[in-house]
């Protein structure tokens, strides 16, 4: 554990501050994207600040054991059931009068806000504001509810990338001194390498490219389909695996008929949602992953791929180059020719076989840990607490 956590624990303990972590994203059954980030942060909080962290949903406390169990399962399926059936509930949040030293930490949109004297939330992207064409109206409305209000009611706001922070400033005028970058982390359970090594996986020798992500228009899968339709020789030498749950507006990402033959012969595979372990194995064995997205606040699959030294062919869009650095191979997300050229380059250079490239991937990923993300949140928070202890009490009186 980073020694700075001890200092932070000390800074929280003396005045009696407690952290309340909103677990609403963890109620999802499949943890990808925002739920995966919430899980990473929850784990890091339990490991580093167990004496100071509590979990809540709206106005209720959530039992720590239930969170531990959900983190072990990597799914919120039972957490959701147990919370609404009762066993995972741990009573109401402390009364307002007893909340004067409480900090609300929201890993995404605030379901209820202005209930703690100090509140912080994380913005993952402004996609519903900037690229609404990629979203369903209900999704847009859900995110827009807190878009401005969360920023207004936060003491500190965090973006998962510099690109997201810049969007917060450029569109919503977020004040420079109250918005910070907290990059997501990447981690795999320690037993995955062992289990993957021993797993019987017939056909591992057949090389493949992996496309990972929810099937929705923002992910730009249509460009990959276009690539395979225009350059069918790629399918002759490599398989293509497109893994991820079916999202929304799927009609915009429909596979062209010309690729049905490739599907029938197993050269193109769409396994749908894959478990975390299956994802690990798929990433580990791929020649490279392709991430053609039009817009990303972070791009977690890029980091997951690099963490296993699997090269990434990524669009140069939004936050992706910030995360992938010089370990990714970038292309223009609007140009199938650009994607083809980049893919050929990866085939020719075979970076995965290059020890220097693998070392570079590990070097990049070492920066992105959940503990580092938590530190990026807690460091400015502690500084803020030192400045605003008294105003916080006054604000709680106003909330009342």
């Amino acid at each position: 554990m980073d020694p700075r956590f001890r200092e932070i624990a000390g800074a929280l303990s003396a005045p009696g501050w407690q952290l309340y972590f909103d677990v609403s994203p963890l109620f999802e059954e499949h943890w990808t994207g925002i739920p995966a980030v919430a899980a990473g942060l929850a784990r890091a909080l339990l490991d580093t600040l167990p004496e100071h962290v509590h979990f809540f949903y709206e106005h209720h406390l959530v039992a720590r054991a239930a969170i531990e169990e959900a983190l072990a399962h990597r799914s919120g399926l039972y957490l959701l059931r147990d919370f609404f059936d009762g066993p995972a509930q741990a009573g109401k949040l402390p009364a307002l009068a007893a909340r004067t030293r409480a900090i609300g930490l929201y890993p995404s949109v605030k379901r209820v806000s202005q209930i703690f004297p100090i509140e912080c939330s994380i913005y993952h992207d402004l996609s519903t504001l900037i690229t609404p064409r990629f979203h369903l109206l209900e999704n847009i409305r859900h995110h827009q509810k807190g878009l401005v209000d969360d920023l207004r009611t936060n003491d500190l706001t965090f973006g998962v990338s510099q690109a997201t922070v810049d969007d917060l400033k450029a569109y919503l005028g977020a004040p420079e001194d109250r918005v910070f970058v907290a990059h997501n982390g990447v981690s795999w359970p320690w037993w995955y390498p062992i289990e993957a090594y021993n797993a019987p996986t017939p056909g591992r020798e057949d090389p493949y490219f992996l496309v990972l992500g929810t099937r929705e228009p923002r992910k730009n899968l249509a460009r990959v389909f276009e690539l395979l339709a225009l350059f069918p020789e790629l399918l002759a030498t490599s398989r293509f695996v497109i893994a991820g749950r079916i999202g929304w507006l799927g009609e915009q990402e429909r596979m062209p008929q010309v690729l049905e033959q490739a599907m029938a012969t197993g050269r193109l595979m769409l396994p749908g949602y894959v478990s975390n372990f299956e994802k690990y194995v798929l990433l580990q064995d791929a020649i490279a992953t392709i991430y053609p997205s039009f817009f990303e606040g972070f791009g977690l699959p890029v980091l997951e791929s690099l963490s296993l030294a699997t090269p990434v062919i990524a669009s140069f869009s939004s936050a992706l180059p910030e995360i992938g650095g010089d370990a990714c191979f970038y292309f223009d997300p609007f140009s199938v020719e650009s994607l083809y050229r980049t893919l050929r380059r990866v085939l020719d250079e075979a970076p995965k076989q290059n020890p220097a490239y693998r070392a570079r991937c590990h070097e990049i990923c070492a920066r992105f840990t959940w503990e580092n993300m938590l530190l990026a949140i807690l460091d400015p928070l502690i500084a803020r607490l030192a400045e605003t202890g008294a105003p916080a009490r006054a604000r709680l009186r106003a909330v009342r």
Binding site: I130, R133, F294, F316, S318, D332, F334
Partner: protein, 441 residues
Amino acid sequence: MAQPDRPARTARHGTTRGTLTAGVLAPRALLLASAPFVIADPPGAVFPFRRCRVRQTLFGWEAQLQAFAQALAATGREVFFVPAPEIFASLPSFRHIADATGWNEAAEIVHLRFGPACCARVLKTARNALVLAETMPRTPLTPSHHPFARGDRLPAATERLLLYQPLAAPLLRIDGSAVPCEILPSAFSDADLAAAAGRDPTAETGVAEWLVCSFAEFDDATFDAGERQVGKNAARSLDWRGARSLRVIARERGEMPPVQIMLPWNLADPASIVPDLVGKFAGAGGLGPGFRLVVFPYNETPETSAKIAAMIAAARTALTLHPSGLRHFFVARIPRLEDALELAEWFEIAWLEAAAPDRWWNEERLAALGVPVGVIAAPCAGEDAIPCLAPADAEIMLTAADAFGERLFAAATLSPRALAALLANTRARLRPAAAPVRRRA
């Protein structure tokens, strides 16, 4: 074609008449433009705007961008189009801009955003200017969580407003600060028309190649794909060919042909009364044999284009018992600018909604083409009442459910009684159809 520069107006809301070269259009700057429309199969993330094939060359954002690019082309400047300005945030993306445009990194990038204020976007690290044809936003009656839904706020990084006309009310950044404004010279709204008029007439086919069909003939899929096969479609509308033939023959006989009326329809305006007016005409049994109404939808996006089919479906339902009435209503696009020059030959008048946010822009474009304009549904009371063919005598509530939330708008409109007066007043205003612009030149 080019008109004298606009007369100086009272500086309002920080509007100045500064020279553009001293402002955002510095001579060495790289000009990147974006707009809410969607280009089918764009060749890349950055490409010269001249490679864009627009759907509607006469009205809306596409036309504004086209005129703007042409005005700059006359000075040797090139405008590049970026379909998604939001993707540029890091070094590889800016390297791509340099590769695609020859941009020298020492020069600044100016991002020109076209379209309404509520759809403003910024390109990070660039100087961002919004080019605005709307002089007033449509303000919803209902609140929305969307920070820009009211149309009176802009993203914090908007550095400047380039206007065709002074605003009726100030536009502020989201933090409440004022945005410096500049009025564009008139060349920026008609340079494309002037250039088209000057092109070699021998290159013409002699047949107007707009995409047009009657409400009876309309097929959503064909109309949507129309700009890719415009030549074929243009001649295939039997109803339109019939309307044209009728005019030619009537003129030969010295008779009054049916009055052909243009009705521009801003699809991005949630409170446009065009569907209401068409619905009322259809509900009243049609226009009658003496009139043809051609609706020109513009500002089409994947989100707005369904409105065309919905309006026509409603008219078809209303005219179930009199289907021949559908042959008097048309819907049209003009993807080729040269064809716009012929409009004065085919239309006696254009009706413009008084409350349309971009009415002034449309008026100016139509005036440049020699098409007379009649304003309709202006509020009747008050000192600022606009002289119009038929003042508003009714109000409707219109709802919109889109990315800006569920919104309710009140719009001044015309009752069926006022529509009858509108037709009578239109006929009274008639004059012999003008010669096409090119011939006059």
